[in-house]
């Protein structure tokens, strides 16, 4: 491809890579877009941390019910075959390793799969963690969607996270606008590039990447 991916295209890539029949949790913000690209054939069941499996699309008009929201507190709908449960049961699903995949944003991901996405660590910043650490610790696979660089050009795929960690060694894939990275015990493998090359990536990152 000749251009970097848009956010929607990144979401599309993630959606494409989710195996049929998976149980998936989409983090708040950008990962929510992934649901727009899941097909009916995929039979993906969405989990929301606030107590539901079988979450449907965002609610419109009369569908809006203040008792039916997602983790971002946005009104959503329920699909046939949904189930509600309380918070301890919902996080037992997460912590117990029952979700196949979760998709989250990140400030930084390390070569070893460490995730930093809850706190900038800046003085005066108000910390808030929500369910991020539970997802990091619990999902079978953690996919990250993020831009590869900060606005000032600093890489976010790093040898070691400098931001406070969310989870240790938990990330298996990183979807960015320029490439999809698989994090393996043998190193970081670049699966696809968009508007760039592996050589360019290797040069701009402080971590080793291979094809």
């Amino acid at each position: 491809m000749s251009a970097y991916l848009t956010r929607s295209e990144m979401a599309q890539m993630v959606a494409r890579d989710i195996p049929a029949g998976s149980y998936v949790n989409l983090g708040i913000g950008q990962p929510t877009l992934v649901s727009d690209y899941l097909t009916a054939d995929q039979h993906v069941v969405l989990h929301t941390e606030n107590g539901m499996l079988g979450m449907g699309p965002q609610a419109e008009g009369d569908e809006v019910d203040p008792d039916l929201v997602n983790a971002g507190k946005i009104a959503v709908t329920e699909l046939p075959g949904a189930a509600y449960f309380h918070h301890a049961d919902s996080f037992a699903i997460m912590r117990g390793g029952h979700l196949d995949i979760c998709v989250m944003g990140a400030f930084q991901v390390s070569a070893g799969g460490d995730l930093a996405n809850w706190h900038t660590g800046e003085p005066g910043a108000i910390p808030a963690v929500g369910g991020a650490m539970d997802l990091a610790a619990g999902a079978k696979e953690v996919f990250v969607m993020m831009t590869l660089f900060t606005k000032d050009g600093t890489p976010k795929l790093v040898p070691k996270c400098t931001y406070p960690l969310t989870g240790v060694g938990c990330v298996s894939r990183v979807y960015t606008e320029r490439a999809v990275f698989h994090l393996t015990p043998d190193g970081i493998s670049v699966k696809e590039t968009f508007g760039t090359s592996i050589d360019e990536l290797a040069e701009s990152l402080d971590v080793a990447v291979v094809a």
Binding site: V69, H86, G167
Partner: protein, 231 residues
């Protein structure tokens, strides 16, 4: 046997200074609006509040914080677009924050209700939220030791209660209600309606009446209406 106070104010009237108050809800869903408003009108202070968030806008829990009635808040996600009251108190050191991963928060409350003395969770291991906590390696994985949370009072919202105090909830309004109901000395519930004993199928009861002490009927209100009424 449950008590049926005449209104939310009567339901919370015996709340004492220094109490730990578990408040249900995830954002607006499951939030016991009427009980939180009544809490604001009673005079108990020096409270520790347990809720997933730290209040929104200028009403409800946020107003309680703003009135200086809360010494400490235990929550997972205080920072929101409209959490300016908490933000100000926190930045000026006027409120203590115990930040807990959301699943650990739910599990600590469950442990409080279930008589578990402490438990090891993988959540947060290797992160700053495990700082100062006991860590143990079990089967090659790191776990953090976490202790139960008990409330003096739980304030929750359910959909229906029967005369035994059995509760059912509505959709994601269920969230923290069922675990908080188990973990407080006194559990006070606001519901849409009270139904006759025998009219809830025993198979679908989510919170058995044994966990419930007081039930009041309070009409559902949206946050917007709540804002309007208090403005």
């Amino acid at each position: 046997m449950i008590e049926l106070p005449t209104d939310p104010d009567a339901a919370v009237s015996d709340l004492k200074d220094g109490s730990t108050v578990l408040i249900g809800g995830f954002g607006e869903a499951g939030l016991p609006f009427a009980l939180v408003d009544a809490l604001l009108r009673c005079d108990a202070g020096d409270l520790t509040v347990v809720n997933n968030n730290a209040g929104n806008g200028d009403t409800g829990l946020a107003a309680l914080l703003g009135a200086g009635r809360v010494r400490k808040i235990i929550c997972s996600y205080p920072r929101q677009v409209d959490s300016w009251i908490f933000d100000g108190l926190y930045r000026s050191g006027k409120i203590e924050l115990e930040l807990v991963p959301q699943g650990t928060l739910a599990e600590r409350i469950r442990a409080g209700g279930a008589g578990i003395g402490a438990f090891y969770t993988p959540t947060g291991a290797g992160t700053p939220l495990a700082a100062g906590k006991e860590v143990r390696t079990i089967e090659g994985r790191q776990y953090v030791l976490e202790y139960p949370i008990h409330g003096d009072v739980a304030l929750i919202r359910a959909h229906l209660a029967d005369g035994m105090g059995n509760l059912v909830y509505r959709k994601t309004g269920r969230n923290f209600g069922p675990v908080m109901a188990t973990a407080a000395t006194t559990t006070i519930v606001e519901v849409d309606r009270i139904v006759a004993i025998g009219s809830l199928d025993p198979e679908i009861v989510v919170t058995p009446g044994i966990f419930v002490d007081r039930v009041v009927v309070a009409e559902r209100r949206s946050v917007k209406e709540s804002l309007g009424a208090s403005a």
